[in-house]
Amino acid sequence: MEKIETLWSRRLSEHWQMTSRYLKLLSNSGFMFTLYILVIGGGYFYQQWVKGLPENFPTEWILLVLFSFLIIRSPIRTLLRSADLVFLLPLEDKLNGYFKKASVYSFVLQSIPLIFVWAIALPLYSHTVDAHFAVYGVMLLILLLIKGWNVICSWQENYVLESMSYKGVRAVVSLIFIGLLLFEAPWYVLVLLALIAIGLTFFLFQPLGRSHLLKWEVLLEVEEQQAARFDRFANLITDVPHVKNRIKPRRYLNGLTELFSYGTSSVYKRFFSKTFFRFGDYFGIYLRLIIVGSIAIWMVSGEWSSVIIAVIIIYLTAVQLLPLWNAGQVEEEPIALYPIPERMRRKNFLAIFMRLLMLESLLLGIISCLVGISIPYALLILVIGILFSLLFTYGYVSRRLQKNKDIYE
């Protein structure tokens, strides 16, 4: 067997080989084109929007939310595999170097989005808070330090199963730190907080590693979650064979799926609606697209442009929801499980699919009203959205699904 010291670099190069293959596919697909358009168009509107902002715009609060999210969420990318639980377990003592490299890697990787957000927010910050670049530049350095501290502590949290309280402490300290930084608290307050953080590191977080054993299953779970995140993203463009989806129970939404009455014709209505809410990231994407759409409508604030944005958002949602048809299937022979004609399954899918798009049209209509689009145009968003949902569902999706047929149908 090879030396344990080279294990990390080999894992990393294997990981990047896989990842770059998918990135290449991504860059060749229409997705990237859409992204360019969004970046260029978005950049233009963003500039315009920033110029019109008043001095008292809550930039600090917005940045506090964004930075805190990017900094506090610090899962360690270990590149572990499930077989490691058997083969590497006996070597736990010798893996310190490996995990150190993993922590550094995670820090670098997670700093990239942080720097991105920082850079994007630069015009906003200098227009509404402080025009001195030096202030904002130093802020990045301190943010990166806080990020580093979070990664170090996050690693130590892997030694205990019930790590919520430690995560809580880390989150609160980071939040206060970032907040004080953004609101330009005096330097000695920041120093005091830094001392507290250092104290916590030595007296709370470091002892975890000394008095507990590494929780391998937690590590593996964190690793798999992160791998799945990328896979799911890539899966939107191309078919990733090993996508392992996680489910989120979201029990508070159960009432909605139970609206479909008990009976044969509801089996797949309930099935698809539950799959939508709980499986993979469909519900998350749906919500995010609505939020993005609302922000875009609000920022552009045009009448016809808001209608166009709404339709684009509904179209993007529809495309993202298409794979719901095959989502959450069991490995083999799904049709054998229930004596329900494939026809009925298709019908139920289309019903759910269309309702989701129509609901989105309604929400976008209401939101445009709230952000100041006049009522006739908000109604137009609703009507065109519903028409589009109908046409897309029964004109395009239903035909596409016709191709899946039971051998006896």
Binding site: R270, K274, I335, P339
Partner: protein, 250 residues
């Protein structure tokens, strides 16, 4: 006796050039538990796939309740319940939702569903797991969910593929009791298994598959008579068939 499952001269497989099943003919009557026995690769799973209608026969017919699947897919499939060897559960549905989906799919009325469900749950000691997702289940628990779904709908025919592996003793006993119960209610059961001692004890008849053909079939007494040894166990007959010894020729 009414034949619930009737397989006649079934020839089938994945490729016409290389059929896996040759000329299979057998029946499962109402109130009968038939054991389907054979080595790995003897053709048990392929046989089951043909019965479920997941594969089309090259020639011959499979009838459930006197009808082939071509006469009506939904009707055919709602007459049978299948318990697969590897439990297939939807990750995103809870135990309760699996039971409910099965009940709804098989057209069970709500009152019957609500009456049967708690009984099955208590039989398999799963009452406290109703709201759990399969991700938190062991293999045996998943198996129990499949078994409960099948017995919940009480179809005419049960097709069971190796049910015992992974089940705990309570689970095995509950499963065996349920099978006896359903038999007395007139259902037919076809069960593929490698646990021969249990099969010998519970099955009314046996089908011994070897290399895609039926080597022997009949009740335990009939098998013993053909082999010419009144005390021989199913295990010994099976081993002898599996070695290709053709024991009935001795």
């Amino acid at each position: 006796m009414v034949d619930i499952l009737k397989v006649e001269q079934l020839k089938g497989g994945y490729s016409h050039n290389k059929p896996i099943l040759h000329d299979l003919s057998f029946q499962v009557g109402g109130g009968e538990l038939v054991g389907l026995v054979g080595l790995n690769g003897a053709g048990k799973s392929t046989t089951i796939k043909h019965i479920l209608g997941l594969m089309e026969p090259f020639s011959g017919t499979v009838q459930v309740g006197g009808h082939t699947i071509k006469e009506g897919v939904t009707d055919y499939r709602s007459r049978l319940a299948y318990i697969p060897e590897t439990p297939n559960l939807y990750e995103q549905l809870t135990l309760k939702e699996h039971l409910e989906a099965a009940a709804m799919a098989y057209g069970l009325d709500k009152a019957t569903y609500e009456e049967r469900m708690p009984q099955l749950l208590s039989l398999f000691l799963m009452e406290n797991r109703l709201e759990w997702f399969p991700g938190h289940f062991s293999k045996g628990m998943k198996q129990k969910v499949m078994i409960m779904c099948a017995f919940l709908v009480e179809p005419d025919l049960y097709v069971v593929d190796e049910p015992f592996v992974g089940l705990d003793p309570i689970g095995i006993q509950a499963f065996l009791d349920l099978m006896v119960d359903m038999k007395t209610k007139g259902a037919g059961i076809l069960m593929s298994t490698h646990i021969l001692s249990t099969a010998e004890q519970y099955c009314d008849r046996f089908i011994l598959l070897h290399e895609g053909r039926i080597a022997m079939q009949g009740t335990m007494d009939e098998l013993r008579e053909r082999v010419g040894d009144p005390k021989v166990s199913l295990h010994d007959i099976y081993v002898s068939v599996a070695k290709g010894e053709e024991p009935w020729k001795k």
